[in-house]
Symmetry: D2
Subunit: 329 residues, 4 copies
């Protein structure tokens, strides 16, 4: 049975996890090679497949039929363009590129290639809880959306994590998944950082988006929530609400309380989402039909483009209209 | 505005709590006197009302219009009979008396008095969660009951607490509240103690009752559950179930988990039940209409009578039919 | 035993409920009289006590030792001043008065009276869930507050309910309870109504407050949430969060789901809060020590004063500093 | 990349689901052929792979390296023996065989083959919630187990479903998963059917097991619970409890309640368990190391052997010791 040969670029936490998923959890794929500037790290992630320090050689390798980019952010743009040039499907971890201009280059290159080759790694679109919410929202069983409340809480961020990074690294997930969930674009944003932190990290901060569909999206981003990693969304509609249940599989009673655990970070919380995203990517390659719900190059551009505008809006503290470049036809 | 003068006998934990409730939480009553063998304890509970060591004098006191008995179990029989003899309403903490024979004496004395004077302090009948379950069960909205699962867990029991005491002190609450909840009588019981403890305390143990209405009642009694005080009931009906929600008012997230607290003992768990029981008792006296749902002298007898039979069934480990004496007409 | 004689002014939904609570659920009080423009309504609420159409006569009645004002909002100012003039403790339903100026008159009159006579009926301060949150926040066990998220959802509002009324009738509860909960004052507000409704009712709307203590308070007010009456608060602190649990006592499983009910309106949700508020008011009168946590005349003023400014902020859509008059010494 | 060629026997609901999982959800396998007495059903399940009506030919097919048996129960014994004779790993849906004697034949045949070839399809051992419970129980963090409470509820059973079938088809899952979870064997069982149903289907019924480790296992089996498919377990230990959380990913608020859905049947509830079981089976074949936690031929024998004894115990209503044949060495 033919399986898709995949090359993974980047063998850090994310790249190694992608290599593990593609080798052991996904049907129809096999791991051909892993590239990393650190060869021993590439070897560890390769689990017996080839290891290299040369990412472009990996892309050129005929046995590599599809490329997964999980290398440092600054390299995404160049590597995705190389994969497109090689005519190979590429799944690129977010961000797709560091600027709107670079993203536009990728969008244009893909258009010239004549077929959809790029998938941006916004894996939440494959998270079962988000998908259950999307099915409910699309069905309109609860009526039109009024407000989508989101919480994005990390247990702890490094000291060098700035307010801008909370937007470009964390909020960017909500930017992508909420416009997918609601099938609309944002028209404006108001950023209200917690005053006690305003002179500092701006953590936590509230972001309130208005959408073209006439609803609100409020997002609390808290990089140092201490108690655990916690991503939550609740859609308040005209006729009811739907929100995520607590993610724990079990409840423990001890020491005077009943408790349900939170994961320490995103790995357990979104394990299924990564697996299903990668499975859908492979299925799309095998069937020559890219997955309908996946984040495209354009979606990657929108995320980068809006994140930049929101960083500016955070500085001004004023309601700020959000705009997108014209989409190439 | 006339309020009912109440005398409280017993100033231990329960008696002091009853005095506090009657003085400060209940409309239409005032505390006249508290009796206890330990005068200083009586004075502390009396909060300015009279204190005495003479329970019979308290009952005889013309200012005492109603008597609450919360003294040691062995004194209940004598004091309730004295209150009946004085023609005064009496609310007696469980057990009503130590034996079926003594309970029958009380039932007979009350009959001779010509009016309902005795209420047994099975306060769970006034617990809002149990009442919400009873309304649902009586409505038959979920169909006929099949199994009622109960859990009665104490954080810790004293070392001298024997298996028989788990029945006469703890299970006795389920004996009363379940037959009230289901409007039926028990026909048989099977007792299955936890084997690792069978040679010892029989803790935890499972009690499975069959009822005349054709349903089962399973009760886990665990006197040393450590994690907290936890009373739970879930009614499994032909068309659905209804059970108690976790009793915590708030949820805390910290240290990697979301938690809802359990109370350390019955005081916070059944604070409302005691208040509402005592309010209903006072309202019944003021309106000369005893509360319809309260536990009567006969109910007190049933609890004592069945507890004795269940203690024997625990020893034999065999399915044991449960019988009641003929009810006096 | 001496009980406090109370006169209730207003026999609408709220007034009748207060009369019922004072007559039947509260220790140490008795209902002397009920006044209402509609005598038959007053009689129904009086349950055998006196009924009158003359509120001022009720206040003057020597048997009335304390006055509860639950009449139409426009009458509060006049009646509270009359109670102060008569030297009688008065518990006034919110709002204390229709304008800051009228509230200042009351504050000044009370000061002249030389003792604390006025309690404003912000009953949420006595709600057990809010109090559990306040104990936790005051303990600083979870660290400093960062954001307090609130939701105030009504099942349905009358068609004539405008955006301003959502603030003066509903949000006003959060205005009071959150500054009490956090022991701080608000410094600014940003109002963001749901765009789809901006030309209409502004329902739902988000209100984001900044506080002098350096935290945020976000409040969603949704007057037509359809699914039920739902008041929720979650405090996000530096080291964890504490929020309200679902208020249902039981869980029902049927028709493919487990469900916990919401109340249809505020009556069941805040029944305990009203009872405990009124009990604390009566206890305060009997002990000549007004309850420490109750909303005072000044608190009533703050609520009215801020509500007016928030109504203006809603119109401008800009971040608006919030100011209070100088507090009389 | 070499993948394991799998042949699936049986193309009913379970067989078709297994074929789908092996072809699309599992890494390292490919579907070679599907056999079913109904060829069109085999073709539908084969999704392009070979379809046949000849199960023995499928087993003999050199391209079939491993066999999954999901045909009618009565054929399991014969087909598993054929797979063993062909030296091919076989994953057999429960029951392994219809009688203890037949199971012993399989155990003996596997021993003669000299290596572990048989896995019994008790997929719950791979359910993430059960595994989280097992990790906690094995850690002894909560102390020794006292009682394991289980509920096995089906929405509805066919009219011809008898009490014995509730044991052999449904309870059999608890028989296997609980002895795995607790690492012990059962020593006795007491069966208490719901009296209202005793003359009929014995549905629901309570099964109380005693274990060699000195704990209790109580199981409610309710084949017609109506409200949904619901499998639940709660382990009550000396120092706390651990139980399954509600399985819903989202919560919906509408029509006066917050609700979390139950699945209609076992497919969504145990989708992950089936996938992970089949992945572990394939991984075990590829690495020549059968999965440590999987149910073996002996485990399949134990389940069949005990189910038979429990059927008899249900008839006698007496506490019944449970015995196993000597295990072949």
């Amino acid at each position: 049975m033919r399986t898709v040969g995949v090359g993974v670029i980047g063998a850090g936490v994310m790249g190694a996890e992608h290599a593990r998923i593609l080798a052991g959890d996904v049907a129809g794929a096999h791991l051909v090679a892993v590239a990393d500037a650190d060869l021993s790290r590439a070897e560890a992630a390769a689990q017996g497949a080839r290891a290299t320090t040369d990412a472009l050689a990996l892309i050129a390798d005929p046995a590599v039929e599809a490329v997964l980019v999980a290398s440092p952010d600054a390299t995404h743009h160049r590597l995705v363009l190389a994969a497109i040039a090689a005519g190979k499907p590429v799944l690129c971890e977010k961000p797709l590129a560091a600027s709107t201009a670079e993203c536009l280059e990728i969008v244009a290159a893909e258009r010239r290639a004549g077929r959809q080759l790029v998938q941006t790694g916004f894996m939440r679109r494959f998270d079962p809880a988000y998908r259950e919410m999307k099915v409910a929202l699309d069905s309109k069983a609860l009526g039109a959306l009024r407000i989508l409340h989101c919480q994005h809480r990390n247990a702890a961020a490094p000291a060098w994590f700035t307010g801008a990074m909370a937007i470009t690294n964390s909020l960017v997930h909500e930017i992508d998944v909420c416009r997918w969930l609601l099938s609309t674009e944002y028209s404006a944003v108001t950023v209200i950082p917690c005053p006690s932190e305003a002179g500092g990290s701006g953590d936590p901060a509230l972001f309130v988006f208005e959408t073209e569909a006439g609803s609100l999206v409020s997002v609390e981003v808290f990089m140092n929530a201490v108690y655990g990693y916690h991503v939550h969304a609740e859609a308040v509609c005209a006729g009811g609400t739907i929100g995520m249940a607590h993610p724990a599989l079990t409840r423990t009673r001890r020491d005077g309380a009943e408790e349900g655990a939170f994961p320490a970070n995103w790995v357990p919380r979104f394990r299924d989402a990564y697996r299903l995203q990668n499975q859908a990517w492979i299925d799309g390659i095998r069937s020559a039909t890219p997955p309908a719900d996946a984040s495209t190059a354009w979606d990657g551009l929108v995320a980068t483009c809006l994140a930049d505008q929101i960083v500016e809006a955070m500085a001004t503290r004023r309601r700020t209209p959000l705009v997108l470049p014209e989409r190439p036809h």
